[in-house]
């Protein structure tokens, strides 16, 4: 089928590529842990909720983007449709939560 020599080269190339990716993943993980610590720290510290709540929500959103784009590889090619559907889902989710937090009591 394929020349063994070139397939070996390919394998090496992939291995290296995967190893580079993995470094990114570990870095991502470190940042996620850091974000988590910041979020918990803010919650435990005596800071105004007006300040804390938006910050921890943003931290959560960023963490989730990390998960989606790095851990779940949405940054790689062939993920256009997954992105479309995930963002549509987030759109519907956003409307749902907005409604249930604002126009349930009035």
């Amino acid at each position: 089928m394929v020349n063994t020599n070139s397939s070996n080269q390919k394998k090496h190339f992939y291995k290296k590529k995967h190893r580079d990716q993995m470094k990114h993943q570990v870095l991502t993980f470190a940042m996620m842990i850091a974000f988590t610590i910041i979020a918990f720290g803010l919650a435990m510290a005596d800071v105004s909720p007006m300040f804390t709540v938006p910050i921890i929500l943003i931290l959560a959103a960023v963490q989730v983007l990390f998960q989606l784009y790095y851990f779940m590889h949405m940054n790689e090619e062939g993920h256009q449709w997954p992105s479309v559907m995930i963002y549509s889902g987030i759109f519907a989710a956003f409307l749902t939560i907005l409604a249930l937090t604002t126009i349930v009591w009035w």
Binding site: Y14, K15, H18, Q21, M22, Q25, V26, F29, M32, I33, T36, A39, F40, L42, A43, M44, P49, T52, V53, I56, L57, L59, A60, Q63, V64, Q67, L68, F71, M72, G78, H79, W81, P82, M85, I86, S88, G89, I90, A92, A93, F94, T96, I97, A99, L100, T101, V104, W105
Partner: protein, 206 residues
Amino acid sequence: MADDMLKSGNLPENPERATLEGRNKFLGFWFFLGGETVLFASLFGTYLALRNSTVDGPSSQELFGLGLVFLMTVILLTSSLTSVYAMYHMKNNDFKKMQLWLGITVVLGLAFLGLEIYEFVHYVHDYEFGYTTSAFSTAFYTLVGFHGAHVAFGLAWIISLMVRNAKRGLNLYNAPKFYVASLYWHFIDVVWVFIFTVVYLMGVVL
């Protein structure tokens, strides 16, 4: 053709998407996760609407201890990383290492689930905070419990995949299955990030 699919070893670059079946599974599962996003959003919305409806039961400030939640968060985040490792080894065609890392993921998942059960038991016994105590308690247990059920299902899924393929090794037929299971596991983590933020941290702060 059919036999190729069951042959282990020597897989292409993205084994999970090398076959049409694999590509279908891959897309179908991503779309399912899009639907799950709305499912959890509905639960989050319900929880947010009812978080102050404690009636006579305890409130979130009285209940939540952040130490345990932090531990659970770190465990689950780490299990997300270990399942990334498993997929890394899958792409490198190293079945044994993949199984090893999946095993670690399962152990971490079990630890998380154990802590969650401990947490619930603690609330019920020490605070008399049962499922039927108030609208808040119902919403809390339902949201966090739904996530817990997802974790339990994910564990059962990964374990049965590991057992089933222990002797068969990695091939084009089961690579998509492993990949999709790991996507599911990450998604569980995504949901937890919002649970610890919206339920626990905001529950203590607000």
